[in-house]
Symmetry: C2
Subunit: 173 residues, 2 copies
């Protein structure tokens, strides 16, 4: 089967870049995610895909809530770094970033962010290495106008890499 | 709850634009979809979200296979039109478009297309108005290099609209 798979084809799929967060009691955590999509309009529902090894996965699975910040194209690699390549098990990712809380308690990062939303999980799909969490949106707000950061821009302009835990990781990329 | 939802926030989420196809015996059908994402790397799996009212939904649900063509930024509105705003119940969408078949029999549209892939459904999620079909990728190929058509470009440059069946439809948009 692998002879008929050219994994370079997957690179042509388009994504944005987001910080997805959750909480466990007083503890907050979040990570960079490229796979956030709206799945229905009525009711407003979104899906996020998270690697099972990540602390954010543990927090969402337990709390049943998550928040999303839509990053803009002013986002820098030093800002992305802690959320993309460090584990919340080792560092407190929220000690130096601006955020607020609204409905669920999951932190809404407000720096380099166009819009934020929060959701309560109503279904999840086990994908082996990852889980799809599907949530009812309970809060959404536009913080400012601007251009969304795209995964393409992240790779081409910011020269960012895909960590091995990403659903779109390409071996030997 | 609606008082805390600003649906303009959803417009900041990023998507590509794709033709998703399937088959029912000899009959072929396909439609424009913005919600195609890779969900895991090992094994290579993708998810597509389709409105239950669409003929493509019926074909995928019955055949258990679907194909995706990743459109490029040379795509024109006259090309999109039949796939985006006409039903396969009324017109044969494949009478005037170039396509090929590989593994599953689902047609791979090759015009204005950077890459193609085919998948066999292994799980589906009922979302009320829509279904998420999750498939194992059994064929993928890069046809040419270029820039993927994004949902943002479709709206801003091609002046395209979101039909009411889209998961990202915004009432009064």
């Amino acid at each position: 089967m692998s002879a008929t798979l050219d994994r370079r084809a997957f690179r042509d799929l388009s994504y944005g870049l987001y910080i997805v967060t959750s909480l466990n009691g007083e503890r907050l955590n979040g990570q960079i995610v490229n796979t956030v999509i709206q799945v229905t309009s009525e009711p407003a529902r979104v899906a996020v895909i998270i690697n099972k090894n990540n602390l954010t996965h543990e927090f969402i699975a337990q709390s049943g809530v998550f928040a999303v910040s839509v990053l803009d194209d002013t986002t820098t690699m030093p800002f992305i770094g802690p959320f993309g390549f460090r584990s919340g098990r080792d560092v407190d990712k929220f000690s130096r970033v601006q955020f607020k809380k609204e409905v669920t308690g999951a932190p809404l990062v407000t720096e380099h962010t166009l819009s934020v939303l929060e959701a309560r999980v109503f279904d999840r799909v086990d994908l082996g290495t990852h889980t799809i969490f599907i949530g009812d949106v309970v809060y959404s707000e536009v913080l400012k106008s601007g251009n969304p950061l795209t995964y393409h821009f992240y790779h081409q302009v910011l020269k960012g890499k895909s960590p091995a835990n990403a659903p779109t990781f390409i071996p030997n990329d």
